[in-house]
Subunit: 351 residues, 2 copies
């Protein structure tokens, strides 16, 4: 009767869901399409995470180890779910390796896809090697090599971080805000200032969205402790003068064009819907919301539920999300799934 | 062995925690200091909620009913916890009514306190009856009477909503951002425009923080569908010319002072730490964070935990929070508590 819960995706949401279920005594099958658990923070080589300040390899790596070591969790890597039939308490998933999993419920923790800056060509990515993404800067930190200009390995003296690359941009079909890039960028700016105290760091923004308690830890600390400069601007283009990058923008506070040279320009890339979402929605029979993320039931009483009973969802699969909220949602979906299993078991006993 | 989980506070976080635990077969004692469950959305008479659009009395009211009707949940109203001793699996709480509760774990869902606009006197609240708070406008909607000027009951022709009242304001000791006021204000602005199509609604802001998918549903819809106007400004003062309120501000985009008459000025009030937090922290032996909210362990692997083992925390007790994230955190804390109970039970069996 007590079939495992199928957790799809081994990022922060999936890892926390699987761990929480196992801690409650519930068997889990966790599948991941890649050969490395941990999701974006591990696969993309993030450095120190917002807001805990833990290194990704320690924090998320620890969550991976906890899951892999748990006897109640059966981890299947390098597999996807090809079909998913049945109903609550009695689902059957066929995997890409030909195996079958019988599951009571499932939790979709299938995450997001980083925006590809090549789709914003006027901002220089793909043309100039010293135009990079926040993910690349994370990798520079996590590699231990520090922030350097890819073109020649020099320490940058002037860095610009451009917010909303692939977010809040209707011209390229990304109307949503990616929620966490402002705070991640403030964090990166502070880390650059710590590593390279003589480097000037500018953040080009539309609105600064360091919401809630991030305001103190990131917005104020970046400006007051770390002397990061914020420029409210509309970015026009990134070019080169042969020696340095040249960033042209309109300062929207003083209403005039500004042209400033930089050694390194960083795109704060947004969170696209997972490129596989259409297929995922089709396989699991759940609805997508208007932007292409997996749809949630729009009701407080049904937190974590999708349009299909017994199929739950958590984390950035549902829209741009922070890591800690992804973890919280993973655990919330876990107890929702657990409750459904419990109700089924109770019905079984009563029958 | 299986003692109940003590949930403290019957708002969105506490209601969702209690329900999730009961659905998993776990007994709960839910205490609330008031005689009305539902927390701020019910006690303050909120109208349609962000982001589900459900009426508070239906959505949160439904969550209250679900909890009250559950045989596994023992609801105790009009009580507070006076002492809390023991350790995980074996806590003992004494209540203000003299009774004792033995509990395996506890979840603190003790919420926040609305900022009192009287502490921002230069913005007119307490001096002019037509300066009101977002909470009062919510009550106007939920009462069914609609938005009217308190001074004489007339329909306002011009409404200004001032963001960040009691938030992002170091002058009055509120440095944090209250996270959800931007979105709630956009929602209220749209509702006013729906009820009073000839009424002009302006939102005065520093940054618009309609993060994530709120961008489409609130930021863009309020401007494009409902013609709400946004003014980036520093508000100086609210006075009266005898007939209307007069709002003086500096437009920070055009860098000049603006003085505009309004019929109704709405303070988008922030979320202070619960005024009882010092006492709550003392009774439960948990740490406060720097602003006075209940402290969370700063690690992804310990989501929902406080500084004291077996004492969990969720929702706006920990900082400004949305209702849906409060619900998610309530459920996340629930499975963390449940897992601890399960581990204790397992240890008991093994012993």
């Amino acid at each position: 009767m007590n079939r495992p819960v199928l957790v799809v995706g081994g990022g922060p949401a999936g890892l926390s869901a699987a761990h929480a279920l196992a801690a409650a005594g519930q068997r889990v099958v966790l599948v991941d399409k890649s050969d490395t658990l941990g999701g974006a923070p591990i696969q993309s080589g993030y450095a120190k995470l917002v807001p805990s300040g833990e290194w990704a390899k320690d924090a998320i790596g620890g969550m991976v180890k906890r899951v892999v070591d748990d006897k109640l969790i059966d981890v299947r890597k390098n597999v996807t779910v090809k079909t998913f039939t049945g109903g609550p308490g009695d689902f059957r998933a066929t995997l890409s390796d030909g195996k079958t999993v019988e599951a009571s419920t499932t939790i979709l923790c299938t995450g997001f896809t980083h925006f590809d800056s090549i789709n914003k060509p006027e901002w220089g990515f793909g043309t100039y090697p010293d135009v990079v993404t926040t993910t690349q800067v994370e990798q520079m930190f996590s590699s231990g090599k520090g922030v350097r200009c890819p073109s020649d390995g020099r320490e940058p003296e002037r860095v610009a971080i451009l917010l909303c690359v692939g977010s809040r941009d209707r011209q390229i079909g990304r109307e949503w805000c990616s929620k966490i890039c402002c705070t991640v960028s403030a964090n990166i700016a502070m880390e650059i200032r710590e590593e390279l105290p003589n480097c000037h760091v500018y953040i080009y923004y539309m609105d600064i969205r360091t919401f809630g308690l991030y305001e103190t830890k990131y917005y104020w600390a970046s400006q007051e402790v770390h002397k990061v400069k914020y420029i409210k601007a509309r970015v026009a283009e990134v070019t080169s003068n042969g020696e340095r990058l040249v960033l042209k923008a309109e300062d929207t506070l003083v209403k005039r064009p500004i042209t400033i040279p930089f050694d390194l320009v960083v795109h704060a890339i947004g969170m696209d819907p997972n490129v596989d979402n259409k297929s995922i929605a089709s396989v699991f029979g759940v609805a997508l919301e208007e932007h292409g993320y997996l749809g949630k039931k729009n009701s407080y009483g049904t937190f974590g539920e999708t349009s299909r009973e017994g199929v739950f969802v958590a984390g950035s699969a549902t829209g741009p999300e922070t890591i800690d909220d992804s973890i919280g949602q993973g655990k919330a979906a876990a107890i929702a799934a657990f409750g459904l299993v419990h109700a089924q078991a109770g019905a079984g006993v009563a029958a």
